[in-house]
């Protein structure tokens, strides 16, 4: 791709949109070359590739906010004209307070050499072989290799460029029909990417999960795998979005400076780290930075773009989302104990590998349930004594965070499908008295 042509076109679109009467304009241009291999039953199902170029336009005219997209290299004038007309027929937004005009972000670009299709196929083969060597009968999952160019230009005078590539593997291993384990791994470096590591962990858990029996209801001390913790931190990050707070749909509303978790819980949003989810600037061009969300159990900050920050008399945290700010890459502080030590100190409880289908009865109160899947291991006197199935975690987000009694020194960088939707570097967490329910007899 011709990067100069790409960025010049984004500049042209922004200039044209301003000339047509927009007060504020931001163009986020993306050109991607991504590949994916999906596999199941230890065999490759499909190999996909996407080559796409999009120019996302955000404009405000007399506080009427419009978003639209120019695809590929089509004529942008007709699309911008329509967007301006839409603004003129629209209503002003009570929330819109402008866009960023200064940034400390720098442009960063590096070279990228795509791997061959065969090399990506080999990564899947290595993962599947490792799963079999570690006791799995079958494996399913996804390998991604993504590359993206991102250029941002705004009417406030910010223009920045970044690019990056990553590798990601999600693998779920089955020892038998109802015994599975799941793990993910990602890297920005092709040479440091080890798919076997995730496969070994998922297969090992699958083997431990053999012959599960129906779980009991009650309150159980539970050692949560990083897959589960990342789901909770993704939810916490979403609840910290100032947009959700101002909407009235966050259980963290009105709780700044108050305890929302135990002392063991410290969570930051920090996309500056060299991990998948890394970025240099947000969707307004503001430099991303480390923002403490929860520090030793106390809620410290909401996440802001320029509009939400001005509304709440704060400063942008570099988390735009042009309408709603969002967490980009969460980091939860680790502890001093190894997770195996934590497990060996458990008297009677559960180890939960993964959860899915997290849904709220009441977002404001934080009441939700989520369903453990993959290895749910019974722990007695510090030993794994068997596996269970058919249980549900029925909890409250603040309550479960307040009952975290310890976190491990080991951390994993996790993102998975719809659950841990924000990449999160998280430890294992020991949570006291997790409420476990199940279907009626």
């Amino acid at each position: 791709m011709d990067v100069t042509k790409f960025s010049e076109r984004a500049d042209d679109i922004a200039s044209y949109t301003s000339r047509k009467g927009a007060d504020d304009v931001i163009v986020n241009a993306f050109s991607t070359d991504s590949r994916q291999i999906r596999f199941s039953e230890s065999r490759q199902d499909i190999f996909k590739r996407w080559n796409q170029t999009y120019f996302h336009i955000f404009l405000a005219k007399e506080r009427r906010v419009v978003s639209t997209t120019v695809k590929g290299w089509e004529d942008y004038r007709r699309i911008v004209d329509a967007a301006i007309r839409t603004a003129e027929l629209s209503q002003p937004s009570d929330d819109y307070m402008g866009i960023a005009s200064v940034t400390s972000a720098r442009s960063r670009r590096k070279g990228w050499k795509p791997q061959s299709d065969a090399a990506l196929g080999e990564l899947v083969t290595r993962a599947v072989n490792a799963s079999a060597e570690n006791g799995a009968a079958r494996a399913a999952g996804t390998l991604y290799n993504t590359f993206a160019e991102h250029y941002l230009t705004s009417s406030a005078g910010i223009s920045r460029h970044e690019n990056g590539s990553s590798l990601y593997l999600s693998i779920r291993c089955f020892a038998d029909e109802q015994a599975s384990g799941h793990s993910v791994i990602s890297s920005l470096s092709e040479t440091r990417f080890r798919p076997e590591k995730a496969a070994e962990k998922a297969a090992g858990l699958a083997v431990l999960a053999r012959n599960p029996v129906r779980g009991d209801e009650g309150r159980f001390d539970s050692l949560l795998d990083p897959m589960v913790v990342a789901t909770l931190t993704s939810e916490a990050g979403s609840m910290c979005s100032a947009f959700n707070v101002m909407s009235g749909f966050s259980c963290f509303e009105g709780k700044l400076g108050r305890r929302v978790a135990s002392e063991a819980v410290s969570i930051d949003d920090d996309a500056t780290r060299n991990l998948s989810g890394k970025r240099y600037f947000d969707d307004e061009g503001v430099a991303v930075r480390k923002t403490a969300l929860i520090s030793r159990g106390v809620l410290k900050h909401y996440l802001h773009n320029t509009s939400t920050a001005r509304r709440m008399k704060e400063r942008s945290t570099g988390n735009a989302g042009l309408i709603a700010p969002e967490a980009f890459s969460i980091s939860m502080k680790g502890g001093r104990e190894g997770w195996r030590e934590m497990l060996s100190g458990m008297r009677d409880g559960l180890y939960i590998n993964n959860v899915w289908y997290t849904r709220y009865q009441n977002r404001r109160a934080g009441t939700f349930s989520t369903i453990p899947r993959d290895a749910i291991l019974r722990v007695r006197r510090g030993e794994i004594t068997g596996a269970v199935r058919d249980i549900r975690v029925t909890e409250n987000l603040i309550n479960i965070l307040k009952h975290v009694s310890a976190v491990s020194m080991e951390r994993e960088h996790v993102s998975w499908w719809l659950e841990s939707y924000t990449p999160s570097t998280v430890p294992y967490a020991l949570v006291r008295k997790v409420n476990i329910t199940r279907s009626a007899d």
């Binding site: 039953e41 499909i46 629209s90 929330d95 399913a140 996804t142 289908y357 009865q361």
Partner: protein, 477 residues
């Protein structure tokens, strides 16, 4: 069907892609061109946060060889972009380690289909659309004296689709859809209750009236207020349970539609949306009572999940999933059909040009019985009416599910008496369907966006059915 110059060019590019794939060791190949025009708007607490006139277009190419399946998509619409996509798809299809699916689907169809728009989106100006959705929001705000927090979304899409494959199928479609969603939170002191609803429609702007969005939303707000003001704590125990239409619908979708997807049964979704408690050889397995017949039917005009040919060129038809309580027919696309020794029954759907077609539901619902809604209630001495739900989930084998009441009432001696807050139904799939002892006549549907695949594809579906009665159900509080 009128084709724009852009579309004619897109169709020609799809034809070119299929021609480029012919021969070369290809068992089957298809190309899909799709172009969509959209308008979205989102209101937060009465203020229009953003309005989005948008469009998208692109082509995908899927190639099947004896080594594997390759899928490439691009929005670089030109001969060069298509040649590159074909080249990538061929390369990837040949990079596999073996493939057993031939993707055959029988007769190659040549057809056109559309959903008529009584009021075309282009005939209503943007100002009017903003006004109507703003009025819906205001009506919700005015419906309760309690403080409310609201999010209201509107989306309209017209998608032009063209499908061509090496078997000779050629399907042209014009697919207009409308989606309205609202999320409300009411506050009474330190106490809160929420409601969320999604409504969907295939057709034009008449959807606003046809869906009765405003009156439904107002009723919803009033029900939430009733729960906050008058709702009693629910006492757990064993009750007869009457499920409202919305609860019947979600149960049909989650514990019948999903487990009957053949790709899921064969493990294709194992690392994402999960597997199924049903096996390919489970035909005849009893799941529910004789009163339980659940179908999935894409051919219902105006429904959110409407289509006449799927996104793999296969003619759509109604599928009976559970017939009189037993497993009957799986949902199949070309891949799952050929892998399982069956054939596609028109359930292959892709959310966009850059998505592979997966096995998907369309409109899943329980067939009606012979009772009035009132008769179901009259037959209960001590029970619960679970009219609607907030929290719900189901495990990834589709066996253990949970629905927590949003609007719920006690039933005493055949009459609906007091509102109760958040009764919990946590039950297995056979436990739920085998307890059904009466089915009402009147059907209602709710819209939904069903999630599956990787990257996740949100798919428009309806789910519904009549009210049903279940005997002797353990309810939690």
């Amino acid at each position: 069907m009128r084709k724009s110059e852009d579309d004619q060019e897109g169709y020609a590019l799809a034809e070119k892609a299929v021609a480029l794939c012919s021969g070369r060791g290809v068992i089957y190949a298809n190309a899909t061109y799709r172009r969509s025009s959209e308008l979205g708007m989102f209101f937060k607490n009465g203020s229009l946060s953003v309005i989005s006139p948008d469009s998208d277009a692109g082509i995908s190419v899927r190639v099947v060889t004896d080594r594997g399946v390759g899928f490439a998509s691009t929005n670089h619409l030109g001969a060069g972009g298509v040649r590159t996509a074909v080249s990538h798809a061929l390369s990837m299809a040949r990079a596999g380690s073996g493939n057993s699916a031939d993707f055959a689907a029988g007769k190659a169809e040549v057809a056109e289909w559309t959903s008529p728009q009584k009021i075309k989106f282009g005939d209503v100006d943007t100002e009017e659309k903003v006004r109507r959705i703003s009025e819906l929001d205001s009506a919700m705000s005015d419906a309760s004296r309690l403080k409310s927090f609201r999010q209201v979304g509107y989306g309209e899409t017209v998608e032009h689709k063209f499908y061509a494959d090496t078997d000779g199928a050629r399907i042209t479609a014009l697919d207009p859809k409308v989606e309205i969603s609202y999320f409300i939170m009411l506050q009474k002191g330190g106490d809160y209750e929420q409601a969320h609803r999604q409504l969907g429609y295939s057709g034009g702007f008449e959807a606003i009236d046809e869906l009765k969005a405003e009156s439904r939303a107002v009723e919803e707000v009033m029900a939430v207020e009733t729960m906050l003001e008058k709702g009693r704590r629910f006492v757990p125990g064993t009750y007869d349970l009457v499920c409202g239409n919305e609860v019947t619908g979600i149960a049909c979708h989650e514990s019948c539609g999903h487990p009957m997807e053949a790709d899921r049964i064969m493990g294709r979704e194992a690392a994402q949306a999960g597997k199924s408690f049903v096996e390919l050889d489970s035909g005849g397995m009893r799941i529910g009572s004789e009163l339980v017949t659940i179908v999935d039917d894409p051919t219902i005009e105006r429904s959110f999940g409407f289509y006449l040919y799927d996104d793999e060129g296969v003619k759509a038809r109604r599928r009976t999933l559970y017939r009189r309580g037993v497993v009957d027919e799986f949902l199949q696309n070309r891949e799952s059909g050929s892998k399982s020794g069956s054939i596609s029954n028109g359930a292959g759907r892709a959310a966009s040009y850059d998505s592979e077609p997966l096995v998907r539901m369309a409109n899943t619902y329980l067939l009606p019985g012979g009772h009035s809604d009132q008769e179901l209630v009259e037959g209960v001495k001590r029970g619960v009416l679970l009219k609607s739900f907030n929290e719900w989930n189901i495990d990834d084998r589709r066996f253990n599910q949970k629905y927590v009441g949003r609007e719920a009432y006690l039933i005493e001696n055949g009459e609906i008496t007091v509102p109760v807050r958040s009764p919990v139904l946590e039950i297995t799939t056979p436990g739920f369907w085998s307890a059904v002892d009466a089915v009402a006549k009147r059907i209602e549907y709710s819209g939904g966006t069903c999630g599956k695949g990787d990257p996740m594809q949100g798919m428009e579906v309806d789910m519904g059915g009549p009210m049903i009665r279940l005997r002797g159900i353990r309810m939690k509080g």
